[in-house]
């Protein structure tokens, strides 16, 4: 309820405004649709899109802000091919990085490239912009300033690197249309201010300061309005009063959100109740974890180092095995060692089996493979027509092989023979494990193994070894995935309760937006070569089982501010998480996951029982907790 006098004042202003708008509106709406051409307000050259976190593939282009009839747009487009190509910029490490103008060649590091060139061009309505990352180089003369635009619907665009450092002018022009505010929590995040919500918040506090201005208005509308309102800025009159008058404009959703945020603040200071696996309630006080230690990645394990752990008969020294695995965990494997080392990591070769014993075993396994392969190969088309369960599996495998890692040179091209090998491997696995059959996601695991082994039989048995561990993920009831999602949530509650609470308040605490991470072990998030590096780290089983979940926690932790400050809901979170693909730095993810492990390890006595179990802290002799 607003006093009549105030309402009148408002009405009058409103009428004037409307008259003007009608006059202007008829003018501009006609003009804007037919006559006014798009107006390029600013254009910055040499703003390069970086294809993926890994590698140095920058595609130079133009960033512009364009006023169009339908709104104001931020647009980026790559230079036409051949134009202005081959310019050079100083790289992060001081050496020069060249930037191409033509599509980058495809390397195994570049699974996400595809037909990137056209894919990258975008046009974004400024009203759809929610925030952007704004990362300045550590030193002015090294590296480039970049921004990454994030939309209200959760879309993240490719990072844009400003070669000429003209970011200031870009921000200045952008500020004409939207209000920008630096996030208090993350200095690299710039948030588009929601003027309506902020106006409302200000109006509430303004009313508070004025000691119930509304009731005073009721008593003496005129003088209060004159003295009271005149103190309030014109911003208040323009934005706040209409917002207050039109209470429907403050959506229910915003109110709920505001209430939830208040609740979150309260909860931060409260005791947390956790239900443990036994169903009994256990009250856990908010844990103060020690600070995260600085962790550094080490260089990959070389063939020489690897061999130094071997005894003369080819077996590994049991005493030193843990040390070797920790080395692999810390640095991964050098590329030339993968073919050998993966056989051990995937339980195809036993660490304590001599070369001679393995050769005998391999002969048997080869025979077994060929036998199973000939089983399905002998099924004729006629027989297949009455064997639906088989032909269905075959169809699934065919469909997925045709679209697995096809941008990786090893699988590129229509007549690529490696596709047939992958197909044969997976079909033989169907015979090996007919009860499970083929499930989507398996080809994602099989392809890198085949690429590294480059041998059908070795690849098959390594794949079998891997499937042994992850088979439960592919079972129909999805129970194992659900279990991991719950564990992930429990871990997040300990490591980052603020984010965990936020997710809960936004119906996302089932963690299903992490489904892809957990099912195919980040295969879709990292480049092909990064995936290989990541998997061998996980396969060491160090420093704890469920390290995969700590990787998830580390990534989510790094996105906390973006998720919360952008007020992402269920769908935006899923979209944002999906869009992280190709833009995560593997070493950062690995080091922060390891750091989180150390944090938890250091306070393991205080951790709830189930968390200790997830991380295998229950056993005191756990040697992995220290380097």
């Amino acid at each position: 309820m607003l006093p009549y006098a105030a309402y009148k004042v408002y009405q009058k202003r409103k009428e004037n405004q409307r008259e003007m708008e009608e006059a202007l509106g008829s003018l501009t709406s006609n003009l804007s649709r037919s006559i006014i051409p798009d107006q390029v307000v600013m254009k910055i050259q040499r703003v390069s899109a970086k294809l993926s976190e890994e590698g140095d593939d920058y595609i130079p282009g133009t960033l512009s802000i364009v006023e169009k009839a339908q709104g104001v747009f931020i647009e980026w487009s790559p230079y036409e091919e051949g134009m202005d190509s081959g310019w050079v910029i100083p790289g992060e490490n001081g050496q020069e990085e060249s930037i191409r103008a033509s599509p980058p060649s495809l390397s195994p590091n570049n699974t996400h490239s595809g037909d990137v060139y056209s894919k990258l061009r975008f046009s974004l309505d400024v009203n759809d912009l929610s925030s952007f990352k704004n990362v300045e180089p550590r030193r002015k003369d090294k590296g480039m300033h970049y921004i990454r635009l994030i939309c209200k619907d959760g879309t993240s665009y490719v990072p844009l690197y400003f070669q000429n450092g003209e970011t200031t002018s870009f921000f200045t022009v952008l500020q004409r249309y939207i209000t920008l505010r630096r996030s208090a929590k993350d200095p690299t995040l710039v948030v588009v201010a929601d003027t309506k919500a902020e106006a409302l918040a200000q109006s509430v506090s303004a009313l508070d300061q004025n000691g119930d201005i509304l009731s005073r208005l009721m008593k003496n509308p005129y003088s209060t309005a004159m003295t009271g309102f005149s103190k309030i800025t014109s911003f208040m009159q323009d934005q706040v009063i209409p917002a207050l008058l039109d209470s429907d404009e403050v959506s229910q959703e915003e109110k709920i959100r505001a209430m939830r945020e208040l609740r979150l603040k309260d909860e931060d200071h409260q005791l947390r109740v956790h239900s443990d696996a036994g169903g009994e309630f256990e009250v856990v006080t908010q844990l103060e974890l020690p600070p995260r230690p600085d962790i550094f990645r080490e260089s990959p394990v070389t063939k020489t180092l690897w061999d130094s752990f071997k005894l003369p008969d080819g077996t590994f020294d049991q005493q030193k095995l843990h040390h070797l695995k920790m080395n692999v965990f810390r640095g991964g494997l050098s590329e030339d060692l993968r073919k050998e080392a993966w056989k051990y990591l995937l339980d195809y070769k036993d660490w304590f089996e001599s070369t001679a014993t393995f050769e005998k075993k391999k002969a048997i396994l080869t025979e077994e493979y060929n036998r199973m392969k000939s089983q399905w190969q002998s099924i004729t088309t006629d027989q297949e027509s009455r064997f639906f369960k088989y032909s269905k599996r075959k169809g699934l495998v065919e469909k997925d092989v045709a679209r697995t890692d096809r941008t990786v040179p090893y699988f590129r091209g229509d007549e690529n023979p490696n596709l047939k090998v992958l197909q044969d491997m997976l079909m033989t696995y169907v015979m090996y494990n007919f009860d499970l059959g083929y499930v989507q996601g398996m080809s994602d695991f099989a392809a890198p193994i085949l690429y590294v082994m480059n041998d059908e039989i070795d690849a098959f048995w390594c794949f079998v070894g891997l499937m042994q561990r992850i088979q439960p993920n592919f079972e129909k009831d999805q129970a194992n995935i659900k279990l991991q999602m719950n564990q992930l949530k429990d871990l997040l509650v300990i490591v980052n309760p603020k984010l965990a609470n936020y997710l809960e308040a936004h119906q996302s605490d089932d963690m299903y937006f992490c489904f892809r991470w957990v099912l195919v072990w980040f295969k879709r998030e990292f480049s092909f070569s990064d995936t290989c590096k990541l998997w061998e780290v996980i396969w060491t089983g160090q420093p704890c089982p469920n390290f995969l979940l700590l990787l998830c926690v580390a990534i989510l932790d790094s996105q906390t501010t973006i998720i919360i400050d952008n007020k992402f809901g269920l769908t935006e979170i899923l979209k944002h998480v999906n869009d992280l693909s190709g833009h995560l730095n593997l070493d950062e993810v690995l080091t922060s996951a390891e750091a989180i492990f150390h944090q938890l390890s250091a306070s393991q006595d205080k951790l709830p029982l189930h968390i200790r179990e997830y991380l295998n802290f229950s056993r005191d002799e756990n040697a992995a907790s220290t380097p």
Binding site: E21, Q70, D153, K392, L396, V439, Q440, Y512, N578
Partner: protein
């Protein structure tokens, strides 16, 4: 987002500034057998792209696209799901609360048509009763390998009151059209909390908003 105001949006041009324009959001889910082209349809509709070797969808993807009708702007929140039966148990999570669904099959694959019928049945039983359903016979560019006859699918669609089109994400045939047809069937009532006979205090903002979408 990249192709906002593409083919679909420009058809309804000229409706801006009438004051009656409003934005309605609808949740749409894509269902259907594996590899029938669900992701490709969405990618074509939202980004105007087509990838011959589109990766399989693990879990779900979420995209948005806006289309303009004569008197309203419809914002689709599109859930693209994994097709394989093994992940069927996740589907209800995605079609729950959906106001529209596109059930997709591959015209060269009879089995995928059967699967589509199963999806239709499941939606009729489990989804919101007013859900607008469309059946899309995708890969229409491969008509020489057709195993599902147009008439057969059309008859089925008629019996079940489904919108029906044969589509091709590859050539973009009927892709925008099927989404437009759905948009037109969606209940676009007055925006909640804003009865039509009251004065809209924030009208300038509203006009601005509609102006950003329609040409």
């Amino acid at each position: 987002m990249a192709n906002r105001g593409g083919n679909s949006a420009s058809r309804a041009g000229g409706s801006a500034g009438t004051g009656s324009n409003r934005t309605c959001q609808f949740k749409l889910v894509l269902l259907g057998e594996s590899a029938v082209g669900k992701s490709s349809l969405v990618l074509r509709f939202v980004k105007g792209q087509f990838h011959e070797y589109q990766e399989s969808t693990i879990g779900a993807a979420f995209l948005t696209q806006t289309v303009c009708l004569d008197d309203a702007t419809v914002k689709f929140e599109i859930w693209d799901t994994a097709g394989q039966e093994r992940y069927h148990s996740l589907a209800p999570m995605y079609y729950r609360g959906a106001q529209a669904a596109i059930v997709v099959y591959d015209i060269t694959n009879q089995d995928s048509f059967q699967k589509a019928k199963n999806w239709v049945k499941e939606l009729q039983r489990q989804a919101s009763p007013n859900i607008v359903m469309a059946l899309a016979g995708n890969k229409a560019d491969m008509a020489n390998k057709r195993t599902v006859e147009y008439e057969e699918a059309q008859a089925y669609a008629e019996d079940n009151a489904l919108l029906f089109m044969e589509t091709s994400a590859k050539t973009s045939m009927n892709v925008n059209d099927i989404f437009m047809a759905i948009a037109k069937k969606l209940p676009i009532g007055p925006p909640p909390g804003q009865p039509q006979d009251t004065v809209d205090v924030n009208q300038p903002a509203q006009q601005q908003k509609s102006g950003t979408c329609c040409k």
